[in-house]
Symmetry: C2
Subunit: 202 residues, 2 copies
């Protein structure tokens, strides 16, 4: 064996797994790995235990599909949230964006994906049954907050079509220029949508 | 109990522990946590096992103090590296910067910190014994690559003083303007050092 062939498998494996996480590049993964190795065993074991504990004990909220460690999540269980205003999202992480804004007082519904025939995901694979059930409450408004790609659009159309004739209001998020962005750098489709949805002033 | 008092302890704990890692802000920690929860249990368990395995089986190289899973690390064990050119660093992570540059063909010596009386770290707490031993090889050059703060300077002085009269060359990294940086944004002390160490041309 050549000297250069010596492998540090454990370190490489640790860096590789960390680099597999979203928004962690190789350089950050190296820094994280060395930080972890510099810590006490107890701290590293606690991090490992937190990971397995969280994964084994956190599951989908029985009402909305958000992550929770109890029967229903803290948002569904919060009496001050409007239970008949339901923001429909693709995945739990999308909820964070709304909660961070602090401007939404309704609840959520997590579909668990979007209809995508190419990926073999049909309506039966998503959390629709519970959505139809929730839509039967009185005076429900669904706010569709799906991604603006083909799958998101198809899923939105499917929901609108399925609920036709039901006494439920359906809206979708406004599309336009992101606040604080420079027009120069906004993509063409966004500019086109913003023009189409222009708002009259004065 | 008020509704708003419902706590998702496990999720908060997971996000909190991830946010405790270097260069991971709260927003990234949230994204990582949700990514982890969206993965299969087997993938999360493997990540947890990788963390504990790496921590329990990776230790200091008997020769240089770098992290390794064997007796000596892959750099000390590489016959093509110059064993008598020793770059002295504070911690294993500092080695990454040199290895990434690909321009260093010697080996390393990890002190495990710098002399810092205020933090109660004296020479006895650092990996000096092995450094003096390695310095007794023939034709050794030590390249001091310690941080440019007071502790780094004090540690460098200590090494120079201890090896006085020994047949060992000691150098330190050049200080100057970082490549690719704009002069306008370089700090005063760096400019001062770069002026002092100016290099004659032509």
């Amino acid at each position: 064996m050549l000297d250069a062939d010596i492998k540090e498998t454990l370190i490489e494996n640790l860096i590789g797994q960390l680099a597999g996480l979203p928004s962690i590049g190789r350089k950050t993964a190296q820094r994280l790995a060395y930080h972890i190795l510099a810590q006490d065993s107890s701290a590293v074991n606690e991090l490992a235990r937190t990971l397995t504990d969280a994964k084994s004990r956190i599951h989908a909220c029985a009402s909305c599909g958000n992550y929770t460690e109890r029967e229903t999540c803290r948002i569904c269980g919060n009496g001050r949230r409007q239970q008949n205003m339901i923001c429909v999202v693709e995945k739990p992480a999308d909820i964070l964006a709304f909660e961070r804004s602090g401007s939404y007082l309704g609840v959520y519904h997590v579909l668990g994906g979007t209809i995508s025939p190419l990926d073999g995901i049909g309506p039966g694979d998503l959390n629709f049954a519970r959505l139809w059930e929730r839509s039967r409450q009185s005076q429900v408004e669904l706010i569709l907050a799906l991604n603006t790609n083909a799958e998101g659009e198809a899923t939105a159309s499917y929901i609108v079509q399925k609920l036709q004739g039901m006494p439920v209001r359906i809206s979708r998020l406004a599309r336009g220029i992101p606040v604080g962005s420079e027009l120069e750098y906004v993509d063409e489709l966004t500019v086109q949508r913003a023009l189409e949805s222009r708002v009259e002033m004065g």
